[in-house]
Structures are given as C-alpha cells and as structure tokens.
Amino acid sequence: MSTAKRLLSGRPTKMRITSRPGEVIDRSKPVRFTWNGREKSAFEGDTIISALAASGERVFSRSFKYHRPRGILTATFHDPGCSVQVGDEPNVRGSHRLVTAGMKVTAQNVWPSLKLDVASANRAAGRFIGAGFYYKTFIKPERLWPTYEKVLQRFAPGGRVSADSPHGSYDKRYAHPDVVVAGGGPAGMAAALGAAEAGARVMLVEEEHSLGGHLRYGSETELAALAELRREVEASGAIEVLVNSAVTGRYDGNWIAILQRNLPHVTERLVKARAKVVVAAPGLIERPYVFEGNDLPGVMLSTAARRLLNLWAVAPGTRAVVLSANEEGDATAADLSDAGVHVAQVVDARRGEQVVRARGAGSLSEVELGDGSKVSCDLLVTAVGWTAPTLLLNVAGDRPVYDERAARFVPGDGLPANVLATGGIVGDGPTAALVEHGRATGRAAAERALARDGTSVTIPSLSPAPHPALYRSRTHGIVDFSEDISSKDLVSAAREGYDSVELLKRYTTATMGPAQGKLETINTVAVLAEATGRSIAETGTTVWRPPHVPVSLGALAGRVLEPVRYSPMQPWHEAHRATPIVAGQWIRPEHYGDPAREVRTVREHVGLIDVTPLGKLDLRGPDVPKLLNFLYVNKWLKLDIGSVRYGLMCGEDGVVLDDGVTGHLGEDHYLMSTTSSGADAVAHWIENWLQTTFPDWQVYMTPMTTAYASINVAGPKSRELMSRVVSDVDLSPEAFAYMQVRRGTICSVPGCVMWRIGFTGELSYELHVPAGYGLYVWESLLAAGEDLSAGVFGLEAQRIMRLEKGHLIVSQDTDGLTQGYGVGLDGLIKLDKEDFAGKQELEWQLERQGYNHLVALLPDDASVVPPEASQIVTGDRSIVGRVTSSRLSPSLGRSICLALVAPQLAETGKSVTVHLPDGTDVRAKVSEELAQFDPGGERLRA
C-alpha cells in the first residue's frame, strides 16, 4: 500500500502519522471538539489547527481582501491564516491555542461559509483592489460614508464579539528579577542557566507551550540536548519559567511587560518585571517566499512542516516539493521522507533552482519550476531564509543593520548596558555553539545585574551564516498574508511615489496586520528595494514596535482594585431601599422613592441627608488664616472662633476650582469643607502651595473626609430636633446663629462638630460625627424626630432645593473656562487683597468684561423642563449660552433653571430662546434673582 493511500485510508484522523520521538501530544488522552459544528477528535497537546490538519482539513480562513482560501503557513502563534473563533472569543490564534474538550471552534471572516465564500468575488475584481484602494475609493461623496462603513464592516476580518460574553479573569503581578530572558530556545535556556549559576534570580519567558525552541522539532541529537537543558533548568531553583507567555515590550528603566497566558482560571496576566538586565533570545522567524500562488493552502514554511510532523505527528501533505536554500530545508525533506510523505522533488535554491508558481483550485495541486517543468503535489515547503525579530533591541534604541552575506538584518551596536542578545538573533551555529554563547551571555547579564566587575566573562563569537538572498521569484505573489498585499501592490505603490519604507507601510498597510511584520517586513523591504533600484541596506527596515503579541484590554486593566466608598449609614440606606447613585468613588442615596416628597419633608418639617462624602480637611497652625486668605477669593484674616465662612476657590488661571465653608474651631484650628468631588484635588492643591511656594508657613493639613460621618439636619423643625439630642451646646438663635460652628455632644457622642449652614435654604445644622458613630447618630436622630415627622432625603431632593435657592454647584454650573466673575459671587472677590490664587487673572477678567454670567431662567411654559446642556441660541442660531441645571420645583410648582449666558442676555426680564434636544425651541425669561425660593434668606437665618 502506498504511503498516500495509507495516509488517506479513511481513518478519522487521516493525516496523523505514527509516533514521533519529540511529539507533544498524549495519545492516551483523546479530546473531542467541534469545527463549524462538526465533531472532530484530537489528542491532548494538539493545537486547534494541528488537530484539524490531522483530520485532513486544509482551509481555515479566507484572506482579508480577496477572500482567498488560507491554510497553514507557519504553524505558530503568528500564523496569519489560522485565526478562528472559539465559542464567543474571536481572533484566537488557532496554531497556538491548545484544543480542550468540548471546544466550539468556527471559521471567521467567511460569509456565508468557509467553502462557499460570496466575498471571494473580490478576487475576480482583484485587479481593482490595489494599494491604497480604500483610501482612493471610499472618500467621496461624504454623504455615502455611512454606506461605505456598512460595506467595509461586512468585509472586515475578525470574529464576532458577543455582548453577553462573561467577564474573563485578569490579573497583574509586579516582579523584580535580576535577569529576564526573553525566549526559551537553546540559547535562552542556556542564558538563564548561566545567569542563575552566577547568582542571579532569573525569569525565563517562552512564547510556546514548552521550552526548547527549534530543538523541539529537531533531530534526535537536538532532542537529547534539549532534554539535558530542561533537566538543568528544572534543577536550578533560581529560574522561574513562564511558558505560553510573551515579553511584549521593554519600557523605561528596563521595565519588561510580560503577558502570561498559562495560569489556571486566569485568562491573561500582565507581569510587570523591573529587570536589572534583559537578555533577548527570540530566535529567528522563517521568511515566506514571494511567488505566484504562494498563499495557496498546501504552501508552507519548512519550520511549519517540521512542527506538524515532529510536534503533533501530522503529515502536512502526501506528495511534497521542497524548495530549500538551507539546512532546515534539507532536514525537512528528510523528515518528510522519514514520516512516509513522498518527496517528489527537492528544488535546491543554492544551485539556482527556482519555484515560479503554484497552482490549484482551492488548494495546491501543481508547482511550476524555473526550468518550466511542472510537478504535481499537494505540499510545497519553502526554506528560503530568516528574519531576526529585533523588537526588544529596537525599543532599547538599537537599529538593526543589513548583513548582505547572511541576507538578514542583525543587531546594530546601539544596545544599552542592561540589554544583551543571544541565540539566532545574533548568529547561527550548531546547538553547542548557541548554548555556549547563551550561557556566557547569561553570566555577563548576571554580573551586570549584580553590579559586579564582569570582566571575567568572555562571550564567544557567534556570527550569522552565509545565506543566499531569496525574496521573490520572477512572479509576483503575496507579501503580507494578513493584509492581503502582493508584491505587485508594493511595486505600484513605489511607482506612485511611496518609495520610503515607512511611507509604503502606511500607504499599503503592509506589515500592519495581525502578524505585525514578523513574516512580511523583510520581503516588503526587499520588494521595495527591487522596485526602486536600491539595495536592501539602503532601503532600511521599519522599526519593530511593542506589543510583540496582542494584549487584551483586560490584561492591561488587571483586577479591578478601585476602591468603592460607602458612608457608615449605608446599611440604613440599603434597608430603606435607597436608589444608589455613583458619585466619584462614593455610592450615595439618590433618593428613597419620591424626591418631591422628600423636598416637602424638608420644607415643612425636618429632613436628614447623609453628606459624608463632603470633603473635610483639618487645618492647624498659626498660619492657617494666611493660607485661607490665599486659597479663597474672599478675606479670611479675621474670622472669630466659633464662626464659619463661605469661600470660593479659583485656580491660578482664575477658573473656579471649588467652594465650601471653613470653620474656626479653636485657637490655630480650622475645619475646611470642600465639594465631594473636589476633596482630593483641594487637598493636593493645598499641599502644592504649602510645599512648593510657602514652605515657611506653619500649617498642618490632614484629610478627615472619611474620619467623620456627616449629616445635614434641615427644615423648620431642625432646631427642635437638635435640642432633643444635644445637651452641651446652647442652640438658641442668639447663642448659635447662622454661619456659626460649635463643638459638642450629639446623642451622647462627644467630639462632634456642628455648623449652621445649609445648601437647602432651610434652617439647618451640618453635623460631623466620628465615623464609627455615624449610623447610631443617624438612627437616633430619626427616632428622636418621629413626632416631628422627621424624614430623610437624598441627593436629588438636595439638588432640587439648592436649585430653588440658586446655589451653584462647581463643575456643574461652571466649566473649565468659567472664571470667578459672573457666577453670582462677584461681591466675594476681593481684589484689594495683596495676593491670592487667581488674583491676576480675575483682575484681567474684570477689565476685559465679556464673560458669561450665571443666571436663573424661568421657562415661559412652567411645565417644560429644558434638559441640562440645552443650548441657548439667537435668532440666527448662534449659541449664546447653555442650561447648566434644571428641575421641576415642587416648592414653586414650576420649572426652574440655572444657565450660563452671554453678557448681553444677563438682564432681568430678558427673554431667551432655549433649543431643546428634540429640535424644538422654548422661550424663557431671565429671573431677577438666582434664588427663586426665599430669596431674602429668612428661613435660613431663623
């Protein structure tokens, strides 16, 4: 029985061959999965693609532009035609991802199916989809952009993302190894060993599922050398091995980003390794050959064929032609014969023999050689040379140089002291030479990492072997398999004037697909060099940039460790069905069911609101008045103990920064309150001034926001309620007046601060209670006020009441351009002070005039509430302001707004046009006062 017949004898895994010495599959553990809904079998250790190839599948996707069938090219992570959808996860690298039981794998970028791809009509029209096609075609007319978008989306590659996908589990880790070795082939393993032997703590990172690099699919001698290296690494104790992990880049200070994918129950983990020294040992990437038909399924690299044969025991075809320019090609031919695949012909490029084109309908059936002869086959293996993946060296500042003798780019001499290179990226040699170079490089890395002398280490030389320069045959073919760019496209782009490699790349998108240049960069450079009549060295190469492999956003985000803040009264809020609202880091009650009723409770009786998120800064020291006088626009040098004052803060650009009240609690002791959202910013602002500008001022600032639970007791009956729970403070209006502060005992809790201020416009007391007693005081107040109809209110009711009172909220009623004048607080700004933050700009603002004003607007139709951010427009539709706050006022029974308007509109009684989001206009009048409710403030001062 011939080999071909034996291989195709109809077994379920018809391309699986007998056991290979280095195979990574476990034949005792069969695994079942599905491919496009059909059941397939595999062994543990199979990748998705190796399992499918074993079952006889040859086509795994359709190409990006022309929807040509694509099969295996590299059989590695970077295989451009082997991205598949796994369950709801798109763009899975099928030649890398291991098969697991029950996996549902489907082809992506095919419509309606892999076999019958409607979009492959593009192929017929292929000559119209040249370089820059998208730039040239989908530009005009502009009104068709939405249509273009739909067309392009249909043809865009990539799988489907499901909105219902469960959140993956992602993690981060910080590591501080002495040496990181990027690449776990023979040189990388030896480098790790050399570094460990010299006393360094080493992290050895390998992209594939096990250590060994090319030794894994090599000869028996190479397998024996690998076994020895593995044994040594395992025995070392100082080497942490991360497999299925990739160094994605190097950043300032040798900060090495490592994407780790091999952890159970963790989708991806980003390891941030601050390495003292990094050793780049990425090996070499085999280069495809450019000729007509080079993307047909069945045309693959020699390393792909050897990987399939020797790692997964899969015959890559039944009848092979091998184009060989090096030992790897020769070894592949030998491996194929050994595995029972008929090698019809070896085309020796070293003797000038050539492959001109490959033909086949859907997959390879015939190869045409340079002498015009044709060989029928279903496998064409090419071994035409190597690319050095110099990413790590590039990002460390090194520029690779072209070595004409070796026909590849090699490292330049621009490496910093904390980056070394070893292995194939440096040069070629037998395993022993690579290991020797790696070990010495590792020792040198350790010497540098441990800041030792290091002169004792001599690194043996390792240089690239001579290799014929083979880039393109005399026909044109695909250069970028991810982006479907042919050498013809590159030549015509060069003719159009895109003759610099960086320009050509951006214009044609060559090297910009999922493979990111690993396979196609050098061929792109070579084709451009040919088209422009320059040498490759003159043409130069593009710069490799991180990340080396795709990194999910989840890995960058890591675990969610952002704190969530709750007040001590949160259990009560939850028990009483508060609707929560997210306010920065805080979760607060927005309301307890009916904000309008909550407003009435406060206006008629007494209500409690949890205002714990209010910023609270404890200020102590003799220079606090000077500090306050500088931070606020108003005057602070004279504030009696027991009094509080409202202040407005502006930045040095005069823009409103924050507001709040500060109370004088005792000698050299103040308590500042800030807005809830501004608490951290104001604390930093204060630190900045104290540390950088006024270092001689004696002030201590301590953030106290979460040390106190804060409660505002508001309403006409609030004094009555307070009198029931406060024993040691005289609450009479004469003794404790509006804008005063007292310290005392509330519900038997000593050390409380209470001040008479109010955002709601009612008689009110703001209480700051030691946080641990917050819930107790809250509940005690409610119990004490039961017969007073005491209730609670949330943020929404407070916002309504402050709007009724015309009190601004910084950053809602102001924006990043709103300076101090014009927000209704002009009288507060004291330009006669010698200095304060923002004074200069405020002076100039006043001189300049022309700024917007904050006004209250009353829509003519009292039932219309213009949504916040509605624009105020003139007759000719130019924008002259916007609504910053708007609500229906339960107290007034009508809609009310605050708005920032151009100065000519800021006149009482002025009628303005408000443009609503639904396209209609309504009229509104500028009110005399910002406050619509109790403008005189009698209730506040009661």
Binding site: G253, Q691, T693
Partner: protein, 93 residues
C-alpha cells in the same frame, strides 16, 4: 515606566507620582504683567535634554520633589526634596 528615586521612599514607579510640571517661579504678586504671568501658567520650555521638574508622590510620602530628568532618555540623574531643597539629595549611582 520611569523609575523615580524618591528622596524619602527610594526607587518607585512613576505611576505612584503625579507630574507637576517644570519648575517655574511664580511672578511676584502686584506687578505681574500678562506676558510673564501667562508664561508662568502655560509656558513650557520643554527642552530636548535636561530639565528640572516637580513630581508629587501622592501614593507614597505625599511630598513634592524635584527631579532632573533628561526628556529624551528619561534618565533621572538627581532628585531632592522640594521642601528645604538642597538640604539632601539623592543621586543615582
């Protein structure tokens, strides 16, 4: 990620710090003209080379510090406390 030698805490990732800009002195109040003031607010020398800048170690000691950083290489050759600048400095070996 840049490693910043905090004079109080030692080498720390720059993610613990907030960049506070080039060191600019505040024009003296009262006689500031618009040119110098706007320069103080918005003007940046932004040299391709050594520059002195402030960093705030918010996730560490809470102190402002001054760093001499090379904007091309991100090398930091010296840092010192902002308060009492000059009293002690920390230099990379």
């Amino acid at each position: 990620m840049i490693l910043i030698p905090c004079p109080h805490c030692g080498d720390r990732n720059s993610s613990e710090f907030t960049y506070a800009g080039e060191v600019h002195s505040r024009p003296s109040p009262g006689d500031a003209r618009q040119g110098p003031w706007r320069d103080y607010l918005y003007g940046k020398d932004n040299p391709a080379g050594w520059t002195e800048e402030r960093w705030f170690h918010g996730s560490g000691c809470g102190k402002y510090l001054r760093a001499e950083r090379h904007t091309v290489t991100n090398e930091i050759r010296a840092t010192r406390p902002e308060v009492g600048a000059g009293a002690s400095s920390r230099t990379r070996p």
